[in-house]
Structures are given as structure tokens and as C-alpha cells.
């Protein structure tokens, strides 16, 4: 396949670019200079329709052994096509690279550039908004925690943030005032801050402030052996633990040249769908709760708890921690467990569709969701939104179809898509995907391939790999570089919540005050996943 891409590249760029194909990482690397970067991005994202996945910064050394920065921009497109990696180098001192945030689908790169600027102190020339992002303003001026020279065990400060800190108020409408919400909420909510600009009843803008939960996961993983870092991969976002653990293991396996056995691939698919089913049941419970529909909330919460118990029963842990491991799985399912699993999932799916039926006939509920928190298809595309949120806005991107990892290549399933992009469209997508997940589980549990569930032991190898999985809330990218003793030298996690929170403020514009919790719930996003 890369032949076609190489032809296209030659036809458009001639001798200016020299693409090289890395078979092991399934990655087409194009080295480019800062002068050509913007042009090549426009060609890839505009003309060829490639989607931006992630931006990775690394401290490396050039041929003469001098330190330099390596920035890798990763793109993907359709099933069977390789990754495209634009590799850009920059000098070690005061690095400045051109920003792509104003170009085609630039908003999808926007936060990546801000993150790299904040954590590496690499400046993106032409970016509209750099500065305080992940590290809040009371951080030590000039600290660059992701640089290799930074010691992750060192406490940067023993003092508390400024207790008199006030959120900046940027008001645009006459008579408006700002209403801060968070970071601590009045129920079991995750920490995040929202500054609502309001004139009393209507909210005009929402300015979110995230990364209250930044734990530096990618930094503290550096130097850890892969099996220890797996604990971090599973635990930085506990409600999508299996998906992130799976992406991490897929990356490790690609580097070490191992493949999980067929039974493990089928079981990985099964557990990933079980997690998605539970995640969606929880999101549906959250949406019902945000509209104060008590019985429906209880019904969805019962289904969620039943699925949590089922997970612990067949896979030991309620959130599927400790199930996936490099090379395969740590557990196997007995035929009896498969039968119980299929029966329990069937019952959950049936109860979910009954709940959906009843919700469709509850006009007071629908009134709260319809035409609320709209994301247009154009926004979904340019912001690179992911998962059910994007699919509710007509963007049918699904990593399970594009990369066909685990056993998705051999599994039949549909990718439900809606066009309206409002809260109700998102709810319908959550219900439809839950139904698909249940169908996949049922099919796999009935016909699991025989054989072992793990390829072990295998030898560690140095190398790099990119793995993409469809986590419950969308595309998760894990870019991994291992040293030859199996320790991590750079790990870049791009969770779906990172893309989706970026688009959230667009849905939370010009709405009635009481709709805020509903818009929030209809996104069903995790801050732990975004903040890392």
C-alpha cells in the first residue's frame, strides 16, 4: 500500500521530500524543514484528507552528537494505510517552530501545540494562544517538566498556589458577569473549572480551565519497565482502563515483534466491548441524572452496577485492571464463564433498549436534550473530535474499522452515526453503540478460538511504535519508544477526552443556565483521561 502514498508524494513534491517507509512501525516517515511544514500539512490534511492524530516532542541528538528537538506529527487516513509521520528537527536552544493551528483542521493541533509549549518550552510561532495551559500560573516560571533533564521525583515547590488567585474575567457582552463553577463540585464530579459568562439567564460563553488533575503520567513513566508502566496506562483513566492498557500493550508488542495469539485477540475485543457497554451505561445514567429523571437514572445505574459485578466475576476486577498484558492476557475465560457473560450482557442490552424506548416517550426529558449543546459536523472535523461525540455530529471515524486491531478485522459490527450533533443525537449514539457492543460480545463469546491466551516469554527490543484503539469515548493514541532493556524512554498518550474537551466550549455557547449540567453530561467525558 505505501507505494500509492509514495507516488502521490513524488508527484506533488518531486525531490523536495524523501519519504521512507518503516515496515515494523507501519509508518511512512517524511523528514521536513520548518519552511515546508505548513505546506505539507495543508497537502496532507486538505488535499489528501488525512486526519491529525498526535504531536510528539523528544529530546534527541543530531549526527554530530549535539542535542536537538525532534517533533513528530502523526497522521492517519483509511483502513490499511500506514501512519504518516512528519519529522521536524529544531535546535536545542530556544526552539521555535511554525504553528499549524491556523491551517486546515488546525484546531485539532491547537491543544497539542499548547501542551508541548507548556511542558517542553518549545515555542510555536503564530499560535494565537500560548502560555498557561497544563501547568497553572503558579508553577515555577520556565519549568519544563517533560524535558529529559528534568527530574520527575523532584518536588518543584513545597508551597501552595496563591490563595487569592481569581479566574481571569474576559467579558464580551454588555451587562455580563462571570460565574465560576468548580473545580470542586457538589457531588461526585471530577475536578475541572468552568468560567461561565452570563447576563443572568443565558450563558454566552464557557471558558474551561482543565489540568487540575495533571499527574505527569508520561513523565513519571520514563525509565520504568514496561510492565510497571502498564499499571500507569491502566490507572490514569480508570473508567477506560482496558482500552488504554490495550493500546499500550499493542505498542509494546509491535516494538518487540510479537503478536498476541488468536484467542487473546478475541478476548481483548470482548473485554474492550464490555468496558464500552459499561461506560455507555454510566454515561446514560449521567444524562438521565442531569435532567433529574430519577427512575431512569436508577435503571441505568442498576445496569452499570450489574456490568461492574459481571466484570469482577469473569475477569477479577470491576474496572478490568490487570487483565491485559504485553503478549496477550493474564486471564482466560472458561466455557461456563462465557455463557454467563453472554447471558448477563444480553439482559443488560435488553434492559438498555427498554430504557431507550421509555426515554423516547418522555417528552419532558427530550425537551431538555433536543437542540441543546450542538456541535456541527464542520466543527467535529476541524477540531478532530473523537468517538461517540464526533459520530453524533456525522463524523464516522472509528479506530476499530481503520486499524482493525485485536479481532475487529474478523468481527462484524456497525458504527452508528447521527447528524444533528445535539444532546439527543449523542444519547442515541450511546444507546446504539451499547447495542452493538452487546452484539459483538455475544458473537465472540459463542465462538472463541482455542489456544493459549498469551505469547510468552518474549525478548525486549528497542524501538518505537504507534498504537490506536477506540476507547469508550473515542480514539486513543499511544506513541511509545522503548529502550533495549524494555524501559520507557518516551510515551505520548493522546486520549479522546483531550480532543473532545477542546471542542466542548463550542457546544456550551448561548444556552440557558440550567442546561449546563445537561450539556456536560451528554459529553460524558473524563478529566482524568484528558489531564493525565
Amino acid at each position: 500500500m505505501p507505494a500509492r502514498l509514495l507516488d502521490l508524494c513524488r508527484a506533488r513534491w518531486g525531490e523536495r521530500l524523501a519519504p521512507a517507509f518503516d515496515e515494523a512501525a507501519r509508518l511512512c516517515r517524511i523528514a521536513c524543514g520548518a519552511d515546508a511544514l505548513r505546506e505539507i500539512h495543508d497537502w496532507l490534511a486538505g488535499e489528501l484528507g488525512f486526519a491529525f492524530a498526535t504531536l510528539v516532542a523528544e529530546d534527541t541528538k543530531d549526527a554530530a552528537g549535539r542535542p536537538q528537538w525532534l517533533l513528530t506529527y502523526l497522521y492517519y487516513r483509511d483502513a490499511g494505510e500506514p501512519w504518516v509521520a512528519l519529522a521536524l528537527t529544531a535546535g536545542a536552544r530556544d526552539p521555535v517552530v511554525p504553528s499549524l493551528s491556523g491551517l486546515v483542521n488546525g484546531p485539532s493541533l491547537d491543544w497539542h501545540e499548547r501542551e508541548i509549549e507548556d511542558l517542553f518550552r518549545i515555542v510555536f510561532d503564530g499560535h494565537p494562544r500560548l502560555g498557561e495551559f497544563i501547568l497553572h500560573e503558579d508553577w515555577l516560571e520556565g519549568a519544563a517538566p517533560m524535558r529529559r533533564s528534568f527530574d520527575p521525583r523532584r518536588r518543584l515547590r513545597e508551597y501552595l498556589p496563591d490563595p487569592d488567585w481569581q479566574p481571569p474575567t474576559i467579558l464580551t457582552a454588555p451587562g455580563a458577569f462571570s460565574m465560576p463553577v468548580g473545580p470542586v463540585f457538589s457531588d461526585f464530579a471530577e475536578s475541572a473549572h468552568f468560567l461561565l459568562e452570563t447576563v443572568g439567564e443565558d450563558v454566552i460563553h464557557t471558558i474551561p480551565r482543565f489540568f487540575y488533575k495533571y499527574r505527569g503520567v508520561e513523565k513519571i513513566a520514563e525509565g520504568q519497565p514496561a510492565d510497571r508502566a502498564l499499571l500507569l496506562a491502566e490507572r490514569f483513566s480508570g473508567t477506560a482502563a482496558f482500552a488504554h492498557g490495550l493500546a499500550f500493550c499493542e505498542a509494546v508488542e509491535r516494538i518487540c515483534g510479537v503478536e498476541a495469539p488468536a484467542r487473546a485477540r478475541a478476548l481483548r475485543t470482548l473485554f474492550a466491548e464490555l468496558e464500552r457497554l459499561r461506560h455507555h451505561a454510566a454515561t446514560i445514567a449521567g444524562i438521565c441524572n442531569s435532567t433529574a429523571l430519577a427512575v431512569a437514572t436508577s435503571q441505568a445505574a442498576l445496569i452499570e452496577e450489574d456490568l461492574l459485578r459481571l466484570s469482577a466475576e469473569v475477569a477479577r476486577h470491576r474496572y478490568l485492571f490487570g487483565v491485559v498484558e504485553p503478549g496477550g492476557l493474564a486471564i482466560d475465560l472458561s466455557p461456563d464463564a462465557c455463557r454467563r457473560l453472554a447471558a448477563a450482557v444480553d439482559s443488560a442490552a435488553e434492559r438498555l433498549s427498554e430504557l431507550h424506548r421509555m426515554l423516547r416517550y418522555s417528552s419532558s426529558f427530550l425537551d431538555r436534550l433536543e437542540e441543546v449543546g450542538i456541535i456541527s459536523p464542520a466543527t467535529a472535523l476541524s477540531y478532530g473530535l473523537a468517538g461517540p461525540i464526533a459520530r453524533a455530529s456525522g463524523l464516522a471515524r472509528d479506530m476499530r474499522k481503520i486499524f482493525a486491531y485485536a479481532a475487529y478485522g474478523e468481527t462484524e459490527f456497525a458504527v452508528p452515526v447521527e447528524q444533528q450533533g445535539d444532546g439527543y443525537a449523542r444519547l442515541r449514539v450511546f444507546f446504539a453503540e451499547a447495542g452493538q457492543s452487546a452484539a459483538i460480545i455475544r458473537r465472540l463469546a459463542a465462538a472463541l478460538p482455542d489456544g493459549p491466551v498469551a505469547t510468552q516469554p518474549f525478548a525486549w527490543r528497542a524501538g518505537l511504535a504507534m498504537a490506536a484503539v477506540e476507547a469508550p469515548s473515542g480514539a486513543a493514541f499511544h506513541w511509545l519508544r522503548l529502550a533495549d532493556d524494555g524501559t520507557l524512554s518516551r510515551w505520548r498518550v493522546t486520549p479522546p477526552a483531550f480532543a473532545n474537551w477542546h471542542g466542548f466550549h463550542l457546544a456550551a455557547e448561548n444556552f440557558a443556565f440550567q442546561d449546563f449540567p445537561i450539556i456536560l453530561a451528554s459529553f460524558g467525558l473524563s478529566n482524568a483521561e484528558c489531564d493525565r
Binding site: 470542586v184 473508567t239 429523571l293 459485578r309 469482577a312 470491576r318 490487570g322 418522555s362
Partner: protein
């Protein structure tokens, strides 16, 4: 029109019998290493090496298990080289940390049977938050035991904290605690809040809540199941005794 009242009535009562009866439904808890069957002292060392968080430590020829550090990775569970942890079902795990036990003030007596709770996410991964949220679902229904969530720290008796305490959450956490009237209690939920878990201490997070606030009760687990969190609340109002924080070494098998 959907008839929600009828739907609710038809569903019936699903609530657990805990604390009046132990709940042994499958899947209510992941369980935890409770003790060990060890062939030799060398096996003890090998088992301790398998534990990635240092919860299992060689002790007097056997191993002791510090539950606050256990993250349920299950790596000690399978029998290898003559060493395996004995897996213990259950969820009555809440314990009083040594520093809290030393404090002069007695733990309970301060409250009647009812508590108002305030929850703070101090950098938790989402699993602890999800489990804490479950105590409000029909299976666990904390209201029947007199436990309520309050929207303001001014009305709160108990602060539930999950997560290793990321730097940005230090101040909100401290402010919430200071806004609570005395008597007040702090419950640390999960391995991260107790010891920093897999995250802390690091450049971005503390090694647990105790670095910022005095902890009165710790609920081990990664995450602790809903029944373990209910158990901790019952310990606060002295309706149950606390558990031990460490399983001491046992005689070899």
C-alpha cells in the same frame, strides 16, 4: 407517555442487606491478598519482588501485606516458584492510620448516626470516583444509612478524598477542609489517596492526602468497592469497628 412510576415499582427493591447481613453477591469486590502460603523464606522474597507497589514485604520469614499500597494488580495471586498470595474476598477494609490512632481525640462520639459528606477529586483516575458514585445507586443506597451528600463544605461532617493530590488540587482541598466546621473527619479513598499509589509522590502530585490534611480513616483498594466506602462511613459513626491496616506474616504452609 412512559410510566416511570410503574417501571420503578416493577423493578422492586434491589438494595443490599449490608451492614445487617454480609453481602456475598458475586462481583461486589475484587478481593485482595489476605495472607500467604509460602514454601520457604526464598519464596517470600520472590513474592515481595513480584509486587510492583511494595505492598508485600518480607517479614520474619514470611511476608506482611500493607493493604494501603495494594493496587489489585493480581500479580501475587498466581502460584509461581512456590509463592502465591491467599486471596481474600470481602470489603470490610476501612482502617485507622497509625497517625490518627495516636491523636488524642477519639474518632467517633462526635456524630450521631447521620453524616453529611463532601467529595473531592484530588487527581483520581475515575475508578474511585465511579465507585464513590455507586454508593448512591439503588444497590447500595447510602441514604437508608443516614449518609447524604451536601453541596457545601459548611454543612459537611466528612470529607471524602480520592486521588494522590495533584499540585493544582492542593489549595482547593485545603480550602474545603478549612471551610468545614468542627468536628470533622477526612476519609482517604483508595491507594492513591493513602500513599500516592502508582502516581506519587512526584513532581506533580503528593504521596497521598496525609501530606496536606490529617486522615482519620483510610479505605484501601484500587478502587475500593462501594461496600468498602460504606463500611468506612459506618466506622466513622462507630457502628462498626475498623479493620487492621497490615496483614501480618503467617506460619508457612
Amino acid at each position: 407517555m412512559a410510566n416511570w412510576v410503574l417501571k420503578g415499582l416493577r423493578t422492586g427493591v434491589r438494595t443490599t442487606g449490608f451492614p445487617h447481613r454480609p453481602d456475598r453477591s458475586p462481583g461486589v469486590s475484587p478481593g485482595r491478598p489476605g495472607g500467604t502460603a509460602l514454601a520457604s523464606a526464598a519464596a517470600a522474597e520472590a513474592l515481595a519482588l513480584r509486587c510492583p507497589t511494595g505492598a508485600i514485604a518480607p517479614d520474619n520469614g514470611g511476608v506482611s501485606i500493607a493493604h494501603g499500597n495494594c493496587v489489585h494488580c493480581f500479580r501475587c495471586r498466581e502460584d509461581r516458584e512456590g509463592a502465591a498470595a491467599r486471596w481474600e474476598e470481602g470489603y470490610e477494609w476501612a482502617y485507622v492510620p497509625a497517625e490518627a490512632a495516636k491523636r488524642a481525640e477519639k474518632l467517633a462520639r462526635a456524630f450521631g448516626r447521620s453524616l453529611n459528606l463532601r467529595f473531592i477529586d484530588a487527581g483520581a483516575c475515575g475508578a474511585c470516583i465511579s465507585e464513590a458514585r455507586q454508593i448512591n445507586n439503588p444497590y447500595y443506597n447510602m441514604h437508608r444509612l443516614g449518609f447524604f451528600i451536601t453541596p457545601t463544605p459548611r454543612n459537611a461532617d466528612v470529607l471524602l478524598v480520592a486521588g494522590p493530590v495533584s499540585d493544582a488540587m492542593r489549595l482547593p482541598l485545603k480550602k474545603a477542609w478549612e471551610a468545614m466546621p468542627a468536628p470533622k473527619r477526612v476519609i482517604a479513598i483508595g491507594a492513591c489517596a493513602i500513599s500516592g499509589g502508582v502516581f506519587g509522590p512526584s513532581f506533580a502530585a503528593s504521596g497521598g492526602v496525609a501530606e496536606i490534611l490529617p486522615i482519620d480513616i483510610a479505605v484501601p483498594g484500587c478502587p475500593p468497592p462501594p461496600l468498602a466506602i460504606l463500611d468506612a462511613l459506618l466506622v466513622v459513626v462507630e457502628r462498626k469497628p475498623p479493620a487492621a491496616s497490615v496483614s501480618p506474616p503467617e506460619a508457612g504452609a
